[in-house]
Amino acid sequence: MALISPRTIDLKTGHAQLALQKHIAGCARAIRRVIWHMRLRDYVIRRLLLAIPVVIGVLAITFVLAYVMGDPVGIYTQERTSPEAVEAIRRAHGLDRPLYEQFFFYLRDLASGDWGYSVSARLPVTQVIATRLPATIELSLFAIVFAIALGIPLGILSATKKDRWPDHVTRVVALAGVSMPIFWFALMLKYVFFFQFYMAGLPALPEGGRYTFTVLPYTPITGFLLIDSIITLNPVLFMDGLVHLILPGFALGYLTLAIITRMMRSSMLEVLKEDYITLARSKGLRERVVIYRHALRNAMIPTVTVIGLAFGGLMSGAVLTETIFSWPGLGRWSTRAILNSDIPSINAFTLLVAFIFVGANLVVDLVYGALDPRIRYG
C-alpha cells in the first residue's frame, strides 16, 4: 500500500507525490522515449548497414593497390636477391595463392591487429598509429572546431547582408580559401608569423612541432597533449601546446572554413526564400528569431553534409600541414613512408583515413537525422 499512500502535494507542479502516480508517469515518459529512440535506432542501423558495402569496397581497393598493383615482394627483397629466394618469400607470405585467398589473409591479418611493420618508423604499424593518431586528431579537431565556429556565423552574416560589404569581404575570404594551395598558405603563415616576426623582434609563433620539446618535458598519457597537460595540471605545457596549434590549425582549418562559409551562405540564401520564412515573418516574429530559429536549423542541414565531406579535405590537408609544421602525426609519417616506398605504412594510413572519413560521415548522417525530422522518420 505504500505505493498509493498519499504524501504531500507539490506546490509548484501540483503533482501529488503519489508514488504510484509518479511511477506511472515515469513509465509513460520512458516508453515514449524508447519509441523515439527506436525510430532513431532504426535510422542508425540503416545507416550502419549502408556503410558495410563501402567498408568492404575500401578494403578491396587498398588490397588491390598494395598487393595487386604494387609489388609486395619488393618490400622484402633487394636487387641482389636471387630468383629462388624471391619465390621462397612469395610462398612464405602466401603471395603465390589465388587472389581471393590473399584477400582473405589480408582481412584476417587486419582483423587480428597485424597491420604490418613500418620500415620508415621501425615499429609495427599499429604502434605507430597508436602514438601518432592523437596528434593528428588534436590538430584536426582544432582546425574543424575553428572552421565551424567561424564559418557558420560568417556564412549567416554573408547571407543576411547579401551584396553589402560584409558579404563581399566574406566571399573573398572564402574564395581565397578554396583556391589557395594549403601547403603554400602554411608556408606563408610560417614565413610571416615565425620568420618575419622573429626577424622584427616580435613575439613569433613557433615554427613547428607540438610543444617546445627542448625546454618542456612531456610524457604522453592519452597522447592528446592538451588533455594530458590538464590531467597533470601543467598550465605552461597547455599554453605551449595551444600556441603550437595556432599556425597549423589555422592553415589546416582555412579550407574547411571556406567550404563551410560558402555552403552556409548559399543554403541560408535559399532557405530565406522559402515559404516557411514568410510564414514566420507573418507571425510577427523578430528578424533575429526568424533567422536564428526558423532559418538556421533548415540551413544547417546541407551545411552539415558539407562538413562531413570537408573532413576528407581536412585529412588530405593534414598530410601537407603536418609535413610543413613538423607535426608528429600520421600525415607526416605517411609522407615519409611514401618517400621510403614503405607499402604497409601507406596501406595502413590509407585504410585508416578511409575508416575515419566513413566514420565522420556516419556521425554527420546522425546529426543530419537529428536536425531533420523528415529523415529521422523517413
Partner: protein, 427 residues
C-alpha cells in the same frame, strides 16, 4: 518540328543544296580519316613504347584517349553523315558534339593526332557557315524553344557578371602564357646559372633565382604548360569516362545503376589527395603521368554521379515524353534534350574541378611525387624553396601562380553555377 517540316523547309533553300552535298562528303571522309588516324596512333604509340620514349602508362593513355576516341568518333561520323544527307535534324548538332569531343581528346592525347583534330575543327567551321547553318540552326533553336532564349539570357548574364568575366580573362591569360612560353620567358625551363643561386629579384631575374640558379619567372611560366596540361587532361578524361559510366547507369538503371553507385561510394570514401597518394605509390614510378592517372581515377566518380543524376532527371521530365510522343527518335531526344541539359552542370563542375585538380596535383608534387627535382612545376618549386625563408621569392611566386589559376576557375565555375541555378536566377 518533324522530319516532314525539315523536308519542306529544305525546298525553300533548294539553291544551296549543293553545299550540303559536299558537306556530307566531307563528314564521311572525315570519319574514315579519324578511324585511320586512330589506328596509326596505336601503331605510333607502340613504336614509341618499343624505343622506350613512353612507358606502359603512356602507351595505355595514348590508346585510351586518342586512338579509341578517333576510332569511335570516326565510326560515329558515318551514321551522322548519312543523317545529314537525309536532312535529319538530329544529325546536325551531333556533328558539333562529336567533333568537339574528338578535338578535346586529341588535345589531351598530344602527338600527331592533334593535327587530325584540325580536320574536325574544319567540320565544325563548315557546320557554322551560313549555307549549312540554314539547314539546321533555326530548327535547332525552335526545337530548343524556350531553352534557346534561356541560353541567350545566360550568356547575357555571364557577360554582365564582372567576376565571371575577370575569371575568363585570367584563364585566357594563363592559356596564352602556356602557349607562348618560349617567346615570353628569358630562360629555358631547365636553364641554370648555378653561380647565381638564390638571387633577389633584379632586372636580370625579375622574380629572382632559386637554389639551383634557375630563373623563377621563367620557370613559373614554363610550369603553366605542365600544370595546365595535367589539369585539363585529368578533367577531360575523368569527365568523358565518368559521363559515359554515369549515363549508362542512369539509362539502364537497375543492377547496373546499383553497382556503379556502390563503386562510386567506395571511391568517395577516400579523401582525394590520399587516394591519389596511394595510387601513385602503387603505380611505382614518380612522375607527372602517374599523378595524372591517379587523379583521373580519383575524379571520375564525381562525373559519373553528376551525369547519372542529370540523366535521371531529364528522363523523367515531361517534355521528353512530349518529344517522344511526337515521334522523335532516341538520337534526337538525346541530341536535343538530354545532352544540352546535362552538359550545363557538367561544365560547371568541370570548371570548378580544374581548380581542385590543380591544387591536388600541386600538393602531390609538393610531397615529392611529381617531376624530377629541379624541373619547372609549381608544387615542386614551392617544395624546394620551402626552407629558404630569407628568399621568399622562391616560394611566393609559384604559389601566387597556383592561387590565381585556381581562383580564376573557381570564379568562373561559381559565377556560372549561380547564374544557372534556377532558385537564384530570378532575383
Amino acid at each position: 518540328m518533324t522530319k516532314m517540316d525539315t523536308k519542306q523547309y529544305s525546298e525553300e533553300i533548294e539553291e544551296t543544296s549543293s553545299s550540303i552535298k559536299y558537306f556530307v562528303y566531307f563528314i564521311l571522309v572525315l570519319g574514315f580519316i579519324n578511324v585511320i588516324a586512330g589506328f596509326v596512333n596505336i601503331i605510333d604509340a607502340l613504336l614509341l613504347y618499343d624505343i622506350g620514349t613512353i612507358n606502359e602508362i603512356g602507351l595505355m593513355g595514348n590508346i585510351a584517349t586518342g586512338s579509341i576516341a578517333a576510332i569511335v568518333i570516326g565510326i560515329l561520323l558515318l551514321p551522322i553523315g548519312l543523317g545529314v544527307r537525309d536532312l535529319e535534324n538530329w544529325a546536325f548538332p551531333w556533328v558539333l558534339y562529336a567533333n568537339l569531343l574528338a578535338i578535346l581528346l586529341f588535345l589531351v592525347n598530344g602527338g600527331f593526332i592533334v593535327y587530325i583534330g584540325l580536320f574536325n575543327l574544319f567540320a565544325i567551321i563548315l557546320l557554322m557557315t551560313p549555307q549549312i547553318r540554314a539547314f539546321w540552326w533555326k530548327l535547332y533553336m525552335e526545337d530548343m524553344g524556350p531553352r534557346a532564349k534561356e541560353t541567350r539570357y545566360t550568356l547575357y548574364l555571364i557577360r554582365k557578371s564582372p567576376l565571371v568575366v575577370a575569371g575568363i580573362i585570367i584563364i585566357a591569360v594563363y592559356i596564352c602564357l602556356a602557349i607562348f612560353a618560349p617567346y615570353i620567358t628569358p630562360y629555358g625551363p631547365t636553364e641554370r646559372e648555378w653561380y647565381n643561386f638564390l638571387q633577389a629579384p633584379s632586372p636580370q631575374h625579375i622574380w629572382g633565382t632559386d637554389q639551383n640558379g634557375g630563373d623563377v619567372f621563367s620557370m613559373v611560366i614554363w610550369a603553366t604548360q605542365v600544370d595546365l596540361k595535367i589539369a585539363i587532361s585529368v578533367v577531360a578524361v575523368a569527365l568523358v569516362v565518368g559521363a559515359f559510366i554515369g549515363a549508362a547507369a542512369g539509362y539502364f538503371g537497375g543492377a547496373v545503376d546499383e553497382i556503379v553507385m556502390r563503386i562510386t561510394d567506395v571511391f568517395f570514401a577516400f579523401p582525394g589527395l590520399i587516394l591519389a597518394m596511394a595510387i601513385v605509390s602503387a603505380l611505382g614510378a614518380r612522375n607527372l603521368d602517374n599523378i595524372s592517372i591517379a587523379l583521373m581515377l580519383v575524379w571520375w566518380p564525381t562525373y559519373a554521379r553528376l551525369v547519372r543524376g542529370q540523366v535521371l532527371i531529364e528522363r523523367e521530365k515531361l517534355y521528353v515524353e512530349a518529344a517522344r510522343s511526337v515521334g522523335a527518335s532516341d538520337m534526337r531526344i538525346l541530341a536535343f534534350h538530354i545532352l544540352p541539359n546535362t552538359i550545363q552542370p557538367v561544365i560547371v563542375q568541370a570548371t570548378l574541378d580544374m581548380g581542385g585538380v590543380l591544387l591536388t596535383a600541386a600538393g602531390l608534387s609538393f610531397i615529392g611525387f611529381g617531376a624530377e627535382a629541379g624541373s619547372a612545376e609549381w608544387g615542386l618549386m614551392i617544395a624546394q624553396g620551402q626552407n629558404h625563408f630569407a628568399q621568399y621569392w622562391v616560394t611566393l611566386f609559384p604559389g601566387l601562380a597556383i592561387l590565381f589559376c585556381a581562383l580564376s576557375f573557381n570564379l568562373v565555375g561559381d559565377g556560372v553555377r549561380d547564374i544557372l541555378d534556377p532558385k537564384l536566377r530570378r532575383r
